[in-house]
Symmetry: C2
Subunit: 354 residues, 2 copies
Amino acid sequence: MARKAEKPASAVSLTAVVVAVTDEVPRVLVARRMRHDLATPAQQGATAMPGDSPDTLPYGPFDPARHRTLELGLRDWVAEQTGLELPYVEQLYTFGNQYRDPRELMGEPRLVSVAYLVLTHETPVSGSGEAHWHEIYNFLPWEDWRAGRPAVIDALIRPGLARWVDAARSPAAKARRRERVAISFGVDSAGPADVVRTLDRYELLYEAGLVLEALRDRRQMARATGGKEPRQSRKTVETAAGIGAPMALDNRRILAAALGRMRGKLAYRPVVFELLPPDFTLLQLQRVVEALTGTRLHKQNFRRTIRNAELVEPVGRFETAARGRPAELFRFRRDVLTERPAVGVGLPAMRAAE
Amino acid sequence: MARKAEKPASAVSLTAVVVAVTDEVPRVLVARRMRHDLATPAQQGATAMPGDSPDTLPYGPFDPARHRTLELGLRDWVAEQTGLELPYVEQLYTFGNQYRDPRELMGEPRLVSVAYLVLTHETPVSGSGEAHWHEIYNFLPWEDWRAGRPAVIDALIRPGLARWVDAARSPAAKARRRERVAISFGVDSAGPADVVRTLDRYELLYEAGLVLEALRDRRQMARATGGKEPRQSRKTVETAAGIGAPMALDNRRILAAALGRMRGKLAYRPVVFELLPPDFTLLQLQRVVEALTGTRLHKQNFRRTIRNAELVEPVGRFETAARGRPAELFRFRRDVLTERPAVGVGLPAMRAAE
DNA sequence: CATTGATATGCTCTCAGTGAGCATAATTAT
DNA sequence: ATAATTATGCTCACTGAGAGCATATCAATG
């Protein structure tokens, strides 16, 4: 069994999704890059064209000689590239898809990428990399329902997915596609579907050719195999620009996975507090939760839930210089970790949508 | 930045945790590596001695030339070694710890291992590997609370952890250790702590030197660095046999992670049905859930929950040849997947333990 | 055939959590 | 002062879950 690999045909790299939330805007740390090394400045929004220099998540190779564990390796990379030192770090997923990296097509070892989620505060970036904070929902605009149903859904996603369903070869395949759409985006567009299903949604859009990376990868694959252009190219002309800002490699898939993981964790782990300053008002806390889940919450009930859970304790001071009545400042109660098995802030729409 | 690795110093392997539940007994597929010992009699716990041939999870190298994705590679390995073809597969975690593999100490590339969870039915194993089904709770005896608090907890774990806490160098370190114990195993031993925290518990036992792998790794590390024997070795004499049956490499850590993942998923995804035959009684369903969570559930309430959630529909037939009143047979309603965002069977003890 | 034992199934009562909304308090802007 | 704005307290209704009682339906046993 387990015959040994003659020569290691894959290399391990570490990729970080560094997240912060400031003023209700969740952001991720990215660096522009042309090729392997070059970086370009500037940011524009959701209209990048193929050939553009795509945004890249900070990453680096895993060097076993230097780092005892994967996580320590990642912490090192993040510190070096961003100056961040002691944030919350959690492994997300390991990606090893074919055609992930163009270099691989030239005979280099497959890049298996271990992705990590890093939660921190938005600080001026200091490290070696030309990193910048970008709004997460620029990359995943269909995930933000705080101002109602995102426009892209009716404008591009629903019709695009409908075409994709119709394009299925067999009736069985069509049914399967329809089911996947229903599961990921919901049947009616009344509310957000399961807010945690971010990865399903991105992968669906990818398969349906509605994000730029899909077209890019198909083109690349066609070129590599010397074959013809992918045949969907004609059908998806109108959305050729792709929905949301693209990223390099499979970085957007990783970002989608990270967002889903964060949302899921909110419900049963007090991870929000990693994103907040030590002292905060209950509304600030609520805004961060809303920013991450992409939904609005009932204010009074949110407060009640937090207080009942004894997640926070009053600092004794009050917010200064606000418009209305000053809000009391709270801090996270570390003790809850030892008191209760599962504590979180509760996700919206987790009950039956009836 | 991102300087390229001169030569890939790590290789990627795929490890499978193949789980099935038969007659209330959750089992995992393992292969004995060096020698062929007989299966240990049930439920003992602290029996294996160092030098034993350890159980190994099925694994194989990831070969990018052969497999398009990591998951496809794993499916191939599982099929080849066990004959299983189309089970439920889900990525668990990627492990890259130092001293994971002794070969690495001889200059071979670090083995980064991507672990997968595979759910299936217990079938006679057919593949190339000498695989066998082993009871999961033989490896993790402290996780099965169905017959009340496991004996190992009072006998070995509590005192062992207490010694570990006391052995902390500084008062601060002591407090941290105490907190970790409280979080993982709970403060009182009244009920099972968070049933999902299996990985925390294993890692705690590992760090405290209460599982055989910890002693083995320390010894190996000492030998490799030419150093002296680890200094905890005297303090942990009485538990030198280690709690639970050991496994090769970090396989037991992987198993613990798999169990936790399964338990967590039960609550919000209908994964149990992957482990059940197409038609089943509600009691069978309950028994599988109990087997996985390691707890007992209230029968009537469990039935009510399942029916209210419309997770199942009656087949129209009844169980034959049982002792009492025949139970109605049900099947999983696939439609729920498109109807509700999050459906599961509910975990016990997820509310405040007061 | 009646009885016992075992299992399946139905029902009630209670309580905690939560969704929704009304009401009041404390501040700043005009 | 008055309006606007934000924070905070409270009620009411509904749902799901925990616990237990009661009944139904079978096999085995005398």
